[in-house]
Amino acid sequence: MATCKYDWPEAAERHLIGKPISRIDGPAKSSGRAKYTYDINRPGMLFGKVLRCPHAHAKVTSIDISEAKNLPGVKAVRVIQGEGKEILWGGDEIACVAAVSEEVAEDAIRRIKVQYEELPFLVNEEDLERAQSQGHTRAPSVQTKGDPDKAFADPDVVISEGYYGAPVITHCCLETHGQVTEYDGSDHLRVWISTQGVSTIPQQFAEVLGLPATHVEAICDYIGGGFGSKFQIDRWGVECARLSKDAGGKAVKLMLERDAELKVAGTRPSAFAKVKVAAKKDGTLVAWQSEAWGTGGVAGAGVPPLPYVLEGIPNQSKKYTAVSTNTGGARAWRAPNHPQAAVLTLCALDDLAAKLEMDPIEFLTKNTGLAPEHLGETYNDELAKVAELSEWKKYWHPRGRGGSGRIRRGLGVSIHTWGGRGHNSNCDVLIQPDGSVEVRLGSQDLGTGTRTVIAIVAAETLGLPVEAIKVTLGDSRYPYSGASGGSTTVGGVSASTRRGSVDARDQLFAAVAPALGVPPDQLEAAAGHIRVKGNPAKSLSWKQACARLGTKTIQATGKNPGPCELGSSGVGGAQVADVSVDTETGRIKVNRMIAAQDCGLIIDMKTAESQVYGAMIMGISYALFEERVMDDQTGIMLNPNMEFYKLATIGDIPEFIVHMMTGPQYDRRGVIGLGEPPVISPGAAISNAVANAIGVRVPTLPLTPDKVLAALEKA
């Protein structure tokens, strides 16, 4: 029995929570009826386009917009960065227009005349010495713990040294960034915007436009991908609103073109490192040394947390140098800094295990005590689970002993961690006298299943089927709910919905208790009825019960955080990759991926598993294909499109086994976020599998055929 009013029901009492339930917005999405920002068409709507700088680094010496302004059909032209402005990366915004059609807007953009003074630039960072010599590096941060020099000098330790890295990649959201802005009168702004934080949007516009936040409404019913890149209104959002204003308040739709999306709307920073790591002959890790660097554009990069997961290695020496490049800026990319840290750490540890001639799963298991607090045991369970499910003992072989044929097969493993505590969330739960139920909140569903988990929690609490719950989100007029980042949404909205639903249910109990002749605390909501505990025959149907409300609608507000802990943070996760490598072509085929993942109490098993499948697929994509290619000569991006910025397609996808860790020890932790953790390990796991197959490390992602062949040649 629950000990606190809002606790989650015990396993035996759950009818919906933890079961595989289809997403409630599935019909709208699969039938094409779901309206995304890109799909919004308003009466008399204008189309916005942006002129972008073609140089990596330049100064605007002159700009002439007169010809664009005079083009018939053009309603507004704005200079964003005019004469004298220094432009620091290719694709940055120079000017924008609003016109009656997309075609006229494009014509107008071509009629804007800009002259630039080109300036020196750096767009590639893997060569750290060159970046340093050109003054593109910041002062390195240096950290030391224990006595690494002494630990490495111990004659009884085995040392492995290597070079590892992951390049800059992009978010490449299928729905590009953008918005439709429309004024209602001179001082009310309505914005349809592709965003991960609908409740945060009014304040962002208000600040820049000088409007009260109460006069801005943001709407985002559906979003076509964000992955961490869609939190800000961005300069193009502000300029879109200004174009609307200049055009007499008319609606303006300004969605980024595909090339702009890849150049300026978000990247994952690169990370490269020379790593030295030491263990005793029995595999106990004793020392870590890393010299790492990376770029996230002009502003440098996020620092990968090294050594990853096994942070308790007693002796450490770490140096990190941020490189400033003339490229579009980094944004949070699904599990910021963690996938890179996993590559730098877990690949280095795998090389050390190979040198020790140890099975890497045994090696990691021996060292899980170096992981934070409670995670050690979780990792042991998860490593044992992926070993079992992958038939590791049957398929794994010591490094390079995968036969002498053209095709070599290998297995690799990695582990990861993430926080995922529920964010601040408020919701209104409404029960109408006709029995209909609605949960309203200013949240958003990124495709993770947010709508569905809200419906499941409310339905479970009220004893109703999932279909009986209407979930209304995606509008800033509803109660504030946090932005969807850091895997914080499921914990936040499930907790606020649970608390709001419990309170709404208790109000209904109070209203119907006299009719059932018992005190309210003797009632329960189950199977579509309000009934007396222990005497289910004495009951009212849900509809009959609600009819007792007369004309009064029940409205209860649920909050997170709030009384009774309904979530926590800190998950583990282990993955195994099984690959085949063609040693003549260098092509890698992923045969299987196996995951064991914990995330506390699971609300919807179906969408939870989908997060893990999807994350591993995204992981295969960045492990094998994705890389932003910048041209050293011209400073421009060479693959700002979807034919050369390669994403995995269905034929690249292997068989999967996904095992969600469940049971009392996980349920007890409450709800924890899941969107990010499973995307962290695939790069390291696949790289380790390739090393296991061919006997040599391919140092950096993506593991393209040319790099595989180069590594084989060097061996």
Binding site: S22, R23, D25, G26, P27, A28, K29, S30, S31, G32, R33, A34, K35, Y36, Y38, D39, N41, F47, S101, E102, E103, C172, C173, L174, E175, T176, Y222, I223, G224, G225, F227, E257, R258, L446, G447, T448, K606, T607, E609, S610, Y613, G614, A615, M616, I617, M618, S621, N641, M642, E643, L647, A648, T649, I650, G651, I653, F656
Partner: protein, 213 residues
Amino acid sequence: MRGKKPKDAAQKGGNGAVTRRDFLRGASLAVSTGLLAADGAAVASPPESSAAAVVGPGKVPVTLRVNGQVHRLELEPRVTLLDALRNDLDTTGSKRVCDRGTCGACTMIVDGKAVYSCSLLAIEAEGRNITTIEGLMKDGRLSPVMQAFIDNDAQQCGFCTPGFVMAATALLAERRHLTPEEVNRGLGGNICRCGTYHGLRLAALEAAKRMKA
């Protein structure tokens, strides 16, 4: 070869610039080559007559038959079928993602073939039977392919989903016996970013099974 050489290059533009229409014709050539491997998918070629006629550059009348309904529009000749439907007919189920025949989010079925509607001009689609995702529902009921997508969670953010539903529908119209390899080929011209391929594969196979029954 499905594409055609522009016969009238000398008559175009006057300033010698490559028009969007020329470009698209070339692009559809390249795309159709790429798609020959994908069963059931092809880029429709312009009909014989429209290649010789010079239209534009201003708006011209265009008649489109979309989901059985006839629409008369005034469009610049450079407008793609995708943009005409999205911007002029508010038919937005088909998505604009790559806008150059790579990702399949704009897939429509034109005269029975799956095509990238971003790579076909609206004027080239005159006189053809155009089916969009909106046309697959019968009496408000989800198609078997749509239902299989829901049951197998073959969607996350959902932006690629209509394109995949159209590609799977065209594939299943050609054949009902599908192997996983045929699904890979048939849906290989579409891209998903959230990583729903696992569910997509199961959905296509299940839809095939249900439609056979």
